[in-house]
Symmetry: none
Subunit: 408 residues, 2 copies
Amino acid sequence: MKASILTIGDEILNGSTLDTNSSFMAENAVKVGIEIVKKMSVADKAEDIKSGIDFLLPFSDFIFITGGLGPTKDDITIKTLAAYLGQSLVFSQENYEYVTKLLSERRKTTVEIDKERCMFPENTVFLKNQKGTAPGMWLKKNETVLVSMPGVPLEMKQIFVDEVLEKIKREYKLSSLVNKYILTAGIWESFLAKEIEDIEDSLPANIGLAYLPKLGQVTLRLTGKNVAEAEVEKFQKQISERISDYVFSWEEKDSLEKVLGEILKQKNKKVTIAESCTGGKIAHKITSIAGCSNYFNGSVVTYSNALKNQLLNVENETLEQFGAVSEETVLAMAKGVLKLIDADYSIAVSGTAGPTGGTPEKPVGTVWIAVSDGKETIAKKFNFWPYREENIELSSVAALNMLRKFIK
Amino acid sequence: MKASILTIGDEILNGSTLDTNSSFMAENAVKVGIEIVKKMSVADKAEDIKSGIDFLLPFSDFIFITGGLGPTKDDITIKTLAAYLGQSLVFSQENYEYVTKLLSERRKTTVEIDKERCMFPENTVFLKNQKGTAPGMWLKKNETVLVSMPGVPLEMKQIFVDEVLEKIKREYKLSSLVNKYILTAGIWESFLAKEIEDIEDSLPANIGLAYLPKLGQVTLRLTGKNVAEAEVEKFQKQISERISDYVFSWEEKDSLEKVLGEILKQKNKKVTIAESCTGGKIAHKITSIAGCSNYFNGSVVTYSNALKNQLLNVENETLEQFGAVSEETVLAMAKGVLKLIDADYSIAVSGTAGPTGGTPEKPVGTVWIAVSDGKETIAKKFNFWPYREENIELSSVAALNMLRKFIK
């Protein structure tokens, strides 16, 4: 089955509200085998809503509509849908009683609500809103189902998951989808694509491959339609073997910091960090995982040379002779932080985050990363981008990945 | 002028990527006086891209298109636009040289790129991509301008702001807009709205007020259309006076960490931090500002009690009697870190970030923050949310804001 999403509201168009509703609906619809073919956002105007539906109709078995159901003047969805479908508005006793009860309970007093607010297109099938007053509406235009829901995320999510998707699963035949993931770090999308070009070319028509990149990481998603799970897994395995050096997980929702944390927890080991250019971001990533106290006691940000010397015992001669951004310095930092803080492994990072501070030999984006287990300490040089924010993120991802590979 | 936004990519439709590009474009276009009338997302399919443009064309002076410009097989925007416009693809020597140079510099070696990647519709006006290899493209269909940009947010943002909007401002007549900002921290949107309700009601029809909230902060934007700057500034001042306790800047692009950094630089003072539940995020925020080495030598993350004692000299009796999340502990942390690291001011944070670890007296979201100048040390308790990520961000924002107010 195919579906489109139509979000209604000036606040989405002018950028003051980030539309998170549509990605929530998409993600959940796709998981049950509904293909989302288009998304559209239009203003709170009857003409725009109508022309939007007209456009989406021929491509869609369902159109999921949110917004415009509130009590203010710019909420015109109900009237517009009735007019569009050629249906008159009729009073719903059922909704009147439900809303009266809900509001009376919430405000701890009897509430008289305006009967005007309980007028709906005559052929509406109602979808229960457990968290608010505007019900979801299930309507039909030719062969397409129009589902209208409130724009408030909390209310929309409940109606969409509990009512809309359940009704569709009960009443329609959905194609079965299989999604399999490969999470990689340390390789750019274009190199990755080159590495697995022949495998991608050999995929059957009913298995698709998508590249989902973010800074320093690429997730590969294989989607099989009406195909056995084992068939998709075969390609997941084949690709993973080819690029095994970069793969850190096969779970969609995993992150490097989570995977690293699980490895440490399993081995009953702890990690500490000495950060310079990353300025606390690696520690932030590690502590973003609940339960990190099992493998993390703490860390330091030694931004100045004086502090590298004072806390980590990096010798002033080393800093003067080789500079803060050097193999010698990060090696000393990685060893030094293990003496300061109780841990089994350490990460140390020093680089030129930018935008200024580069030299011809060490341009902005030059980053040295070291990892250590107390006995062995290794360092590697990276050349990232001349942009501060991206550099910090790329360095943090590379550092976590370097320790992950070092431990294994 | 009216514009639509068309984002291309299966990853947007299936919900695996949240489309932040379109709200960025909308927000920035609206500021210069362009009205966004529709947004649409379509799949990586030529037919879908074409029918999307066909639908948007009659409503739009400009269509801002993102996505599908990468080097992989599912990136088909260039070919599709050429076919749609009836233009042939021609080799661009200019782009070939630019991309070759960019990649060679990045990879520190001569890179031979595939000439296939430098084929563009013959009438393309190129928009310089300073952060990546795919240029922006400015094309025309009848009276509508089609602007195509990469979907990578970093690259899109640079091209959109530096090239697209600048070109439009130069070459088209836009209605004159005046935007004035008030940046606040430490007050929720609904309370803020209540505080200034009467001022908002008194605004003339040609001045609008928008609330742009993010965690712990709300930016107010006053937009005047065809109105004198002084008139908008009058309301900016009136609102600022009413809520002066929460205002930290009137510059749109400011951040708390930037404002705090400027105050420290001006006073020639330094700050250090002892973080527990925020786990490095405050240090990350401070070091995200270029030039922070003027006022930041470094900091510590003391996640375990043992490390709070070892590095910061928080007495074990204090930790045992009052707990890590207590006024006594953060006061000791704030004093202790000033002894460990050379600085004039300190911040200390300890809380229960969650999702577990709460008690009836200290539920998840309980956070103690202290600030110190070595002589005076004050602490404050906050009750945030039972969600880890939001808690860490809210605590970091509150901590920076608390030191800002402490210094002033």
